[in-house]
């Protein structure tokens, strides 16, 4: 009999990094308590996991680390509710449960050999970070064509993973463009929404796929821009944000029409999403 999918793997927090000036987004580095759990947890970027705190509850989060970062898992969490507030109060060493990995990852088979346009906004950048780390790994970089990343936030202080962003901007095998809605003193990069940068750069849609994660309003206009650049709907890959519960397509908390976001998603192409009823 296979393992009970409702039982979390035991883990603990190794490190907590505050990601923004508002201090309401933190990245938690988790390590499993035992080797068996670590060996059993095999994920691909785009998947999510359920984090649980005894006596508090359980909530789904996209996995922000790539499987190439083998020794730990990263989850970047914004403080918004009961569970995340409790999580934010934890210090390194605290125990936590991890259930997963769950859901359909980014379509890595389809992405092989393609140029990639990655558009992210705000703190939805987490699984895109995992994807970029995965792509840039020496073992995988040769599998993909050019990689263009456009990442926008409200203000410079809201950009996450700043040390890594700076590192990526220093590389020649990836183009990273950062933009903020409102620049402050000292900001020398783009100012404006991600779509203005996208339209200025005009990446070719030929043999290319686009990955977009961000707030609904950003997705709405990014889809228009990508369409204008010639990206067909099935070449635009999106990830849905949803309050998944069981994570295995049983509880019916996250279904949209006949699709379960937890099992059939959270990654969908724009074409697949258009076929779903407009419930989200």
């Amino acid at each position: 009999m296979s393992r009970n999918p409702y039982l979390p793997y035991p883990a603990h927090i190794e490190e907590v990094v505050v990601e923004n000036e508002a201090r309401d987004i933190k990245t938690f580095r988790l390590a499993f308590e035992d080797l068996d759990s670590a060996a059993a947890f095999r994920h691909l970027p785009g998947q999510f996991a359920e984090l649980s705190l005894p006596g508090v509850g359980e909530a789904p989060f996209g996995i922000a680390s790539s499987p190439t970062e083998a020794d730990y898992l990263l989850f970047t969490v914004k403080r918004v509710g009961l569970f995340t507030t409790e999580l934010h109060s934890l210090e390194p060493g605290a125990g936590i449960g991890v259930r997963g990995p769950m859901g359909r990852p980014f379509p890595w088979d389809r992405m092989a050999g393609k140029d990639l346009v990655i558009v992210g906004g705000g703190f939805a950048f987490t699984t895109l970070r995992a994807a970029i780390k995965y792509i840039l790994d020496p073992a995988h970089r040769g599998d993909f064509g050019s990689v263009l990343v456009i990442y926008g936030a409200r203000a410079p202080g809201e950009l996450m993973y700043r040390r890594e962003l700076a590192e990526w901007q220093g590389r020649d095998d990836i183009q990273v463009h950062l933009t903020v809605d409102k620049a402050d003193e000292g900001w020398t990069q783009h100012e404006g929404v991600v779509t203005s940068v996208l339209e200025a750069l005009k990446p070719s849609s030929e043999n290319a796929l686009a990955l977009a994660c961000g707030p609904p309003i950003m997705i709405k206009f990014t889809l228009v821009s990508l369409h204008a650049l010639g990206f067909p709907d099935d070449a635009v890959i999106l990830s849905l944000e949803m309050r998944m519960k069981c994570g295995i397509g049983k509880c019916g908390r996250c279904n949209i029409g006949s699709k379960y976001v937890c099992k059939d998603g959270p990654v969908f192409t724009h074409e697949e999403l258009r076929a779903l009823p407009a419930e989200y």
Partner: protein, 296 residues
Amino acid sequence: MTEKTIAHTDLETFLDRLRAAGVVYAPAEDEAGDVALTEVSPTEPVVLEYSNFHLSPKGFFLPQNQTLLCFKDGKAAEPSPPDQETFLFGVRPCDARALLALDQVFLDGEQSDPYYARLRATTTVIALACTRPMPSCFCTSVGGGPGDGAGADILAVGLEADLLLRAQSPKGEDLRANRARESGQQRPAPARCVRLSALGSRQPEMPCVWDVQLPLPHVPLLRHHRRGPGLPRPARQDVGLLRLSALHAARFRPQSPPHAQGTVAAADHAQVPVRSGESRSALLRGMRPVHPELSG
């Protein structure tokens, strides 16, 4: 699947035997006077005259409260499974069939739900064929019927003086066989089944309770005979629908055997083919007149 009968007066003995093997829930009146599936004590009367319960037996398989995990030495562990069998006696065929729909989600597919699976494994469902369908019933619209045994382990049918038990699953077969071993006797199939088979309506060696044509009051069947997604279409309509409108007669024309085909003509009813050419009253003979409309 095999079947056997027990006398109605032996029902208590039958339930006592089940009690020896686990917990028995059977229809009994609750404080409000409603019939509900209750853990009945040997002295409590079991009610067999009811349409259906207010609460479906779904709660036995997906309880509102359930311990999903506990912690031992800081590690999450699965609580130990139920240590005894649960017997649900008197589940209506519609509710038993509904379990098959739940199975599609919680048992079948790439990932089954372990908590549902183990409650399903430790629960024996004994359905009781429905002799009092209500105008609002819709079992026939989802592929079932008042005498349908799908989803149950055993189907019980109330006959004149007996209760016919028909095994529907290997588990039900075991239960039936165990009881046969214990009592050391197995009564023959009821005479009316044999008589009907002698009329050539079906294979004599396969006594089939459906040929008794469960008496139905006039059920105003709704026009939407859509079947539920994924539910198997029954090989034939299991239920004798004798008073049918022309529309329903066309829809539910039974698969007629090549011989012994007759019709019942009635002024206010469509001509409905009935096996063997027996009159309706003959077909209904032997059924317990539990419904006032049928007692004439």
